[in-house]
């Protein structure tokens, strides 16, 4: 790459180096591991942890009351059987897509800039999937019977109903979580070894030692290691695409106008990546400053992620257009009315907001100034996160409130308990992420070393 690098057209010129100059292997190891082993946590970290813990308390309390009283506490009704719970589930799962995408697909496409952000993004994936995972449990009418959805052999010879998209979800999401966890842990092993070797305190040394599985950086190990890592990446790529495809089946497989459409899988996946990258940036922009990682997570990374957001944002926008077009082109009264109602009906405000957030706002990313400036970029990512939540809200609610029989039309609004569960899940997210940056290297050290090596040899810039 270095040779051609000279004569790249300015538009494609990289805005910043992958790593600020003046680093060597040791300085990299120190910079990352000292956050965990040496330095005290920065003040904002305590704030985040505290906030997360507080919101987590809200989640606990509201959930306890929900289980005691029943789902009537939520805004759901006939005909709107699904509400916040499903919206949040899909939203979190979508967010969870960034990590695996960065670590797997960018790995396969050989994108060097993934190095500094994949560990962080993968951690975010795992936490986001956890957040998503609590909603099916809260959502069902009889949580105590939820194990019925697992294929457990039993004397009544009762099995799950394998044609249900919800069951596909169970397998898709649990597989996604497990594989992401394996992938993430695989990436962690050499870094755990680093922490083991650098930590002075016996206890830390022991824990990291156990987790490192006795990794000693043998060339033979590295050889198999890289093969395994590549394979995991290779299989995660289709997996990550399948997961949101299957989540979109929850809607696409049904008969409800506004749900029953073939555009959903691609447009859900794009939306997932879109929101995922937005969330990665939302967290990374402050974190890189709080923990002094600006040397490794440079403007270059922000710029590239912003570009991916722009691309996926445009795909999502295309999805909206397609949806509307198909509704009209189908000639079906159900579809046409659904779309008209979605735009002009009682929830038109939500549709307008989501267009503003998801279709209009990303257009700012055409400007390098926005892509490379943390503050506007941060604001933009928040807007996109809101927009993607609204998208799921619009899809779920507008389709259910006005389907086939006018006599059965209804309306929906979340109650305080819906909101409690939602902010509660955000609390869980903040809490877990705080613990992650406290105890595990937020950047893949060994890959940084490799990258440094390549930079030193001028293989990459």
């Amino acid at each position: 790459m270095s040779a051609e690098a000279k004569n790249i057209p300015p538009a494609l010129q990289v805005v910043a180096p992958l790593v600020e100059p003046g680093h060597n292997y040791e300085s990299i190891s120190r910079a990352v591991s000292d956050v965990i082993l040496e330095k005290p946590m920065p003040k904002p970290w305590f704030g985040t942890l505290g906030l997360g813990f507080m919101l987590l308390g809200i989640l606990g309390a509201s959930t306890a009351y929900l289980f005691w009283e029943g789902l009537g506490l939520w805004g759901i009704n006939n005909p709107v059987g699904w509400g916040f719970a499903i919206v949040n589930l899909v939203w979190w799962i979508g967010i969870g897509h960034a990590g695996t995408l960065i670590s797997a697909i960018l790995l396969l496409f050989n994108q060097d800039w993934r190095t500094a952000i994949n560990r962080f993004a993968e951690a975010m994936t795992l936490v986001a999937v956890m957040c998503a995972g609590i909603f099916p449990l809260l959502h069902v009418g009889r949580p105590w019977a939820i194990f019925f959805i697992f294929p457990l052999p039993n004397t009544m010879a009762l099995w799950p109903q394998f044609r249900s998209p919800l069951l596909w979800d169970v397998f898709a999401i649990s597989t996604y979580f497990t594989v992401s966890l394996l992938f993430w842990f695989t990436g962690l092993i050499p870094d755990l070894a680093t922490l083991r070797d650098r930590s002075k305190k016996g206890i830390g040394r022991m824990i990291y030692g156990v987790l490192a599985l006795g990794w000693r950086g043998s060339a033979r190990h590295w050889y198999r290691y890289e093969m395994a890592y590549l394979l995991l990446g290779g299989m995660s790529a289709p997996l990550v695409v399948s997961v949101h495809t299957i989540v979109s089946f929850d809607f696409a497989v049904s008969v409800i106008p506004g749900w029953h459409t073939t555009i959903f899988p691609p447009y859900f996946v794009a939306g997932a990546i879109y929101s995922g990258f937005a969330m990665v940036l939302t967290i990374m922009i402050p974190v890189r400053i709080w923990f002094g990682m600006t040397d490794f997570i440079t403007t270059r990374h922000l710029d590239n992620m912003a570009k991916v957001m722009l691309a996926t944002g445009l795909v999502v926008f295309y999805g909206y257009c397609c949806e509307a077009f198909y509704a009209w082109y189908s000639g079906s009264d159900y579809e046409r009315f659904m779309m008209m109602n979605r735009m002009t009906g009682p929830y038109g405000w939500a549709y307008a907001c989501l267009l503003l957030c998801n279709a209009v706002s990303p257009q700012f990313l055409w400007f390098k100034w926005v892509r490379t400036n943390p503050v506007p970029l941060f604001i933009l990512t928040i807007i996109v996160n809101i927009g993607m939540w609204l998208e799921r809200y619009v899809i779920v609610v507008t389709s259910l409130t006005r389907d086939y029989l006018p006599s059965a039309w209804g309306e929906y609004a979340g109650t305080i308990f819906d909101w409690a569960a939602y902010v509660g899940s955000i609390g869980l997210f903040l809490f877990m992420m705080s613990l992650f940056v406290r105890f595990l290297p937020m950047i893949t050290i060994f890959e940084l070393r490799l990258q440094q090596h390549q930079i030193d040899n001028g293989e990459i810039r």
């Binding site: 083991r196 070797d197 590295w222």
Partner: protein, 185 residues
Amino acid sequence: MSAHGHEDDTPKVHGLIAEFDDPETLVKATTKAHEAGYRTMDAYSPFPIHGLAEAMGVRKTYVSLVTLIGGLTGTATGFGMQWFASVKHYPYSIGGKPLNSWPAFMPITFELTILFAAFSALGSMLLFNGLPRPHHPIFNAKRFERASSDGFFLCIEETDAQYDTDQTKAFLEGLGPVEVSEVLE
């Protein structure tokens, strides 16, 4: 324990280790050692160095094959489970669909394929690497903790057929290491 075992009660030697200060020298050294006929040796680096394993004559790994087999097992398990439950063990009529609604069974089949493959990949990698292994003599090597940060090591083990304390030491000295030292078990 090889035939060259020492009779006296001095601690056993694991091998001779040379530290290098950059990857390139390590690769060169390893290549030379391999050419010189050393086989039972290993190189240690804080990050994967392309060509290093090859330099030691490592040519292939079975990780990918195991992963493939694992994946196929997942496929069979996934579809088999659904078919058995829906067609054989407890058949019931759902929405006018046939018992074996195979298109609807595809998603779970796919997911289990990936799941099994992933476990096989990580599992076989660890298995072939003999991990987890909490302790290894190499950890006794001087400054070896740097192997997880910026140290590059080549260790020719005592069990190697050509191993001879003095000659091997001399040989390693000749490769431009920072330092050569003996690793005790």
